[in-house]
Assembly symmetry: C2
Homo-oligomer: 249 residues x 2
DNA sequence: GCAAAAGTGTTTTCTTTACACCCATGC
DNA sequence: GCATGGGTGTAAAGAAAACACTTTTGC
């Protein structure tokens, strides 16, 4: 083997698909609060892909790990200070970036309910939350403004820069897999939550409706009752607040 | 954002934890064939970590993806031509390699039964298969010659170079997770196999014994009968050979 | 009272677990 | 015959699904 310095080196970036649940208080007291799964995008102000959307991200520095780089960029570009990071794959097609040889370590980042994180704390003008919904062969982003088409596991979208359509698709699949197999759903919720807070995002992400009584039983081992209640003045019985069960898995 | 060329660039390597099932025909006809989960290691002939063990791997080239780099290095260093690659995380601690700033995209690679791949086809003198067994707080490699100690998800071993002890530990956990949740066990088997070929590795990897009758039922939906039988002259009823079910999941 | 969602109970179905038993083979 | 692992049957226990019903709230 030759000396490692003989080899050309790529630039290494971290790109982040940030997921959050947006809870908008219902205007009409007869309705449930509307909950949406959202991701963070950036509108690109410069070339390449000027005017298109991209994921927050940036380059790895010699003094940090790639996870630290991801969190640093997330903070710089969106104001978010803490998040659960889930590593996705590394995107390394030689032609994925027209600027040159740049590979990207992609992450999914999960933050507890969005409202507590945006506006007040955000120092980023350019990043914004958009809704994301998974269909059978497409992903609908920002209520139809951005549509990712899926064909044979490949994702296409001409409004998203680089291979970010593919990264978003892969991130969504990973999120779903983690929700089904590893209780990661709790990382999208605040410390205290109602059963509905848990059930609605769960159904959106997995794409499957659950009967209320059955869902309650299924997750009962993973949560603990508190003696608090939540009722946004809605016209129905108040919901008990739960927290994540303290026993380890 | 500045021009990307302003940033210093790391060397990027791919390191591979190659898993395979080694089936040694039993000497005594009264015994079952012994099956072991094994991984591929390399004895380092040069500094750093001269004399210690490391994973096969090498540097990413500008014309290939990191997956292609992993498969190329696997072929060059071990003679293995095809494998199922599972991406692990990227290891990027700034001080992980004493030679300089080198980050590593790690992969698990799964190959069908070892014997068909080694000796005859291998053009690598330096790589070799060693057994791997997971205990509660340690990993036993090569029948006790290499012991990885686990403490709080951190892996330590002074016989393994770089952070490769940690990579092997993470790879094992990932393999286990994939076997439990995603039927990846079939990628460790040849096209035709007996129920025992399936059950023994499954139990070794998951660390849980399954009652034979129940295991058979559990996996019955995922396999198809053939009209072939396998009996290495053993003193018991011959085993029917099965293949993976052709229906997609 | 009424609508809406929270929450409980019951029955049915399916899957998982445990265990008893028969089958085919080489010696 | 006998030991060994391959393979089947069956019953109990547990989890998932379906559905009917009660509770608490704001108007």
């Amino acid at each position: 083997m030759n000396n490692y310095k003989d080899y050309e080196r790529p630039s290494v970036a971290a790109d982040i698909v940030t997921f959050g649940i947006d809870s908008e208080r219902a205007v009409n007291k007869r309705e449930l609060d509307s909950k949406m799964l959202k991701i963070l995008l950036i509108k690109r102000g410069e070339e390449p892909f000027k005017g298109q959307y991209s994921l927050p991200g940036g380059f790895l520095r010699p003094t940090e790990t790639i996870e630290e780089a991801a969190l640093r960029e997330l903070k710089e570009e969106t104001g978010i200070k803490t998040a659960t990071l889930i590593p996705l794959k590394t995107y390394s097609a030689p032609d994925r970036d027209p600027r040159g040889w740049i590979i990207s370590c992609a992450f999914a980042a999960l933050i507890p309910t969005i409202e507590t994180y945006t506006d007040a704390e955000s120092d980023a003008e350019s990043s914004f939350w958009v809704s994301i919904e998974m269909g059978t062969d497409e992903i609908n982003i920002a209520n139809g403004e951005i549509i990712i088409t899926i064909e044979n596991e490949k994702a296409y979208c001409d409004k998203l820069a680089f291979d970010h359509a593919q990264i978003i698709y892969d991130a969504y699949l990973k999120l779903k897999d983690e929700v089904v197999n590893h209780d990661i759903i709790f990382d999208l919720l605040p410390e205290y939550f109602t059963i509905a807070d848990l059930k609605i995002p769960y159904e959106m992400i997995t794409g499957k409706k659950e009967a209320a009584a059955n869902f309650r039983r299924k997750i009962s081992k993973k949560i603990e009752e508190t003696d608090m209640f939540d009722n946004g003045g809605a016209m129905h019985r108040p919901s008990k607040l739960y927290k994540r069960s303290s026993e380890q898995e």
